[in-house]
């Protein structure tokens, strides 16, 4: 992912934002509204994940840990304290995600490459195991149902716009971050870690910072998801959730900032269309993943851009 200050892109994304804002106008169906909310929240999760992998080169197989942490702090707050504690639960989830990602991050950035991936996976599965076993506190396999956002947020429409604004704000912040000097440093960490110390910067400190940032936004996506679905489940912490967010990023293109968001949209629509027809959904996404890795490693957005560049040079050479 390289820096671009393309005005066209900004306009394009304003159009996408407006399209999401107009979804409630276009359809009265609650189901379509939920689908749009899912695309927004998974999109946020995927963009946050890609700050780790696509930008900094740290493939985490355990971001579900923070996604679930956000969801569970909202859900458990509502379950154990009271229905009005939705927003404090959201805040608690964000604070906890920073503390936990600092603690875990300090441990796991000591290793790199495949080992890093394995350790993120192990920590994610540890959190899943604990949630699964601690039945009387977390509800175990049953999860928590009936999580209704309080007050005016209880209205589905209001909550949708609440999500839209927070997601847009979060993605804009991350975009700013990726264009900032820190974003450049993070790319340097991926491309040439041994030169980072020459710049007077620390590889590990950069990795730790982006790990915390990514986990923070993953927790935000998870806690908003709890309100959108009105329920939480241990599956949100399971490693297949981490796998799904990776697939979204690969599908959209890890080399582009907005690629993962597109990937999330495509995968969720695909799941909506195909998931109802087949019980072998994992097989489908396995095949999609295989095709992307083997044939289209730049992702849909990346391959599209490459194609456009090729066509342009073809036209120019005539």
């Amino acid at each position: 992912m390289e820096r671009d200050t393309d005005l066209k892109q900004a306009v394009l994304w304003l159009v996408v934002f407006a399209a999401f804002a107009l979804v409630p106008v276009a359809t009265a169906s609650k189901y379509h509204l939920l689908l749009a909310a899912h695309i927004l929240l998974w999109g946020l999760f995927a963009v946050a994940f890609n700050m780790l992998w696509g930008v900094t080169g740290m493939l985490s197989f355990g971001q579900a840990l923070y996604f679930g942490l956000g969801a569970y702090s909202v859900g458990l707050m509502v379950k154990h304290v009271g229905p009005g504690w939705f927003l404090p639960g959201l805040g608690l989830g964000l604070v906890c995600s920073v503390i936990l990602s600092l603690a875990v991050g300090l441990l796991i950035i000591r290793v790199s490459g495949v080992f890093f991936t394995v350790l993120t996976l192990a920590f994610g599965q540890l959190a899943w195991q604990i949630t699964f076993r601690w039945y009387h506190f977390t509800g175990g396999d049953d999860g928590v149902q009936g999580i209704i956002p309080p007050g005016i947020l209880g209205n589905g429409l209001v909550y949708y716009y609440f999500i839209l604004i927070l997601v847009a704000l979060a993605i804009w912040l991350m975009h700013r971050l990726s264009q900032s000097p820190m974003g450049v440093l993070l790319r340097c960490v991926r491309q040439n870690p041994s030169r980072v110390p020459f710049l007077g910067q620390s590889v590990r400190f950069s990795q730790l910072r982006i790990y915390v940032v990514s986990s923070f936004f993953a927790a935000l996506a998870g806690s908003l998801m709890a309100g959108a679905d009105n329920s939480i489940h241990t599956d949100m912490l399971y490693w297949t959730t981490s796998g799904e967010v990776i697939l979204m990023s690969v599908l959209g293109g890890i080399g582009q900032f907005f690629g993962p968001f597109i990937g999330a949209g495509v995968l969720i629509v695909l799941q909506d269309v195909m998931g109802a027809k087949t019980e072998y959904w994992p097989l489908m996404i396995g095949i999609v993943m295989m095709v992307m890795v083997l044939l289209l490693p730049r992702g849909l957005v990346g391959e599209f851009q490459a194609l456009r560049v090729r066509l342009k040079s073809l036209v120019a050479s005539r």
């Binding site: 992998w53 080169g57 493939l59 197989f61 441990l107 796991i108 000591r110 290793v111 790199s112 490459g113 495949v114 080992f115 991936t117 394995v118 350790l119 996976l121 192990a122 920590f123 599965q125 540890l126 195991q129 604990i130 076993r133 490693w239 796998g243 990776i246 697939l247 690969v250 072998y280 994992p282 097989l283 996404i285 396995g286 095949i287 993943m289 295989m290 890795v293 083997l294 490693p297």
Partner: protein, 295 residues
């Protein structure tokens, strides 16, 4: 806690350690030789268990023949996976990440194919004839089948060590780990070596799945449980180190076996605690040589 309790737990931990070692050694072999991280290794274990089940229940084969079928079947499928898919992404930028994703997609595909063929219900296998009883010695009762597993595991460990350390194919495998280009220049067919190593490793996994089938039920989710345990083993033992895998499996097997007896509900969490502790104090692996700290 009396002595016979400790002895029984030690022995059952040793059984678990042996099975873990068979899976983890394959994982560590592929990584050490080919620098490939096979996330789907647990799926080959699961395939082995199903192949053994199929041989015994549908074709009325002998259990030991079934274990051999499982090993050969998993080995052939492993070689196909390497030859048809993994080989295409060697040397690509950010190869490590894509390898993980590719082998992750194997997990999804293999799991669903197994569900299509054998269904989702639990399958079980009887212990082989001659190993259904148990032996009591010095007040300790132990099923003979578990003792057989431990014996077979030791045999394979010694055999694998002998091949790796003392024979020409073993030397070629170790040389592949060090310098592929130089080895190729000396006339060794490096790609074929990689495929063969992959096949041997997945065969070990399939064999472990067959051996484990009479002890645990055979389910489509078995692969995922096993891969995470073996990952912990290789993290503890130091990835790419043969004896590290053995010691890591031993440690995890024993810890697990005592945890199951003492705190049954939280036994599955204990393995992770061991890993986290190991990571805090020695991130490169407990049994890795000092200087090895691959990026």
């Amino acid at each position: 806690m009396d002595v016979s309790f400790i002895a029984v737990q030690l022995l059952s931990g040793l059984t678990m350690a042996t099975l873990l070692f068979l899976v983890a050694s394959g994982l560590t072999l592929i990584f050490g030789v080919g620098n490939v991280f096979n996330f789907a290794h647990g799926s080959f274990y699961m395939l082995g268990a199903y192949l053994a089940y199929q041989t015994v229940s549908a074709w009325h084969g002998n259990f030991w023949v079934a274990a051999l079928v499982a090993a050969i079947g998993a080995g052939i499928l492993g070689m196909m996976a390497e030859f048809l898919f993994l080989r295409r992404i060697y040397g690509r930028a950010e190869e490590g990440g894509f390898q993980i994703l590719l082998t992750y997609s194997f997990i999804l595909v293999i799991d669903d194919l197994v569900k299509m063929i054998w269904g989702t219900e639990y399958k079980s296998l009887l212990r082989p004839a001659g190993f259904q009883g148990s032996i009591t010695a010095a007040g300790v009762t132990m099923p003979t089948y578990n003792l057989a597993i431990i014996g077979i595991g030791l045999l394979i460990a010694v055999l694998a060590w002998w091949i790796l350390a003392r024979t020409r194919p073993g030397r070629v495998a170790r040389a592949t780990a060090l310098d592929r280009e130089m080895l190729g220049a000396m006339g060794v067919n490096v790609p074929r070596t990689m495929t063969l190593v992959f096949g041997i490793a997945t065969a070990l996994g399939g064999f472990a799945g067959a051996l484990a089938a009479p002890l645990r039920s055979v389910t489509p989710g078995a692969g995922i449980e096993v891969i995470i345990d073996s990952l912990i083993v290789v993290v503890i033992g130091g990835m790419g180190h043969f004896w590290g895998a053995w010691l890591g499996a031993l440690l995890l097997g024993e810890v697990n076996s005592f945890a199951v007896a003492i705190v049954p509900e939280w036994a599955s969490v204990v393995s992770y605690v061991v890993m986290v502790l190991c990571l805090i104090f020695k991130p490169e692996g407990l049994f890795a040589p000092r200087q090895v700290r691959k990026a």
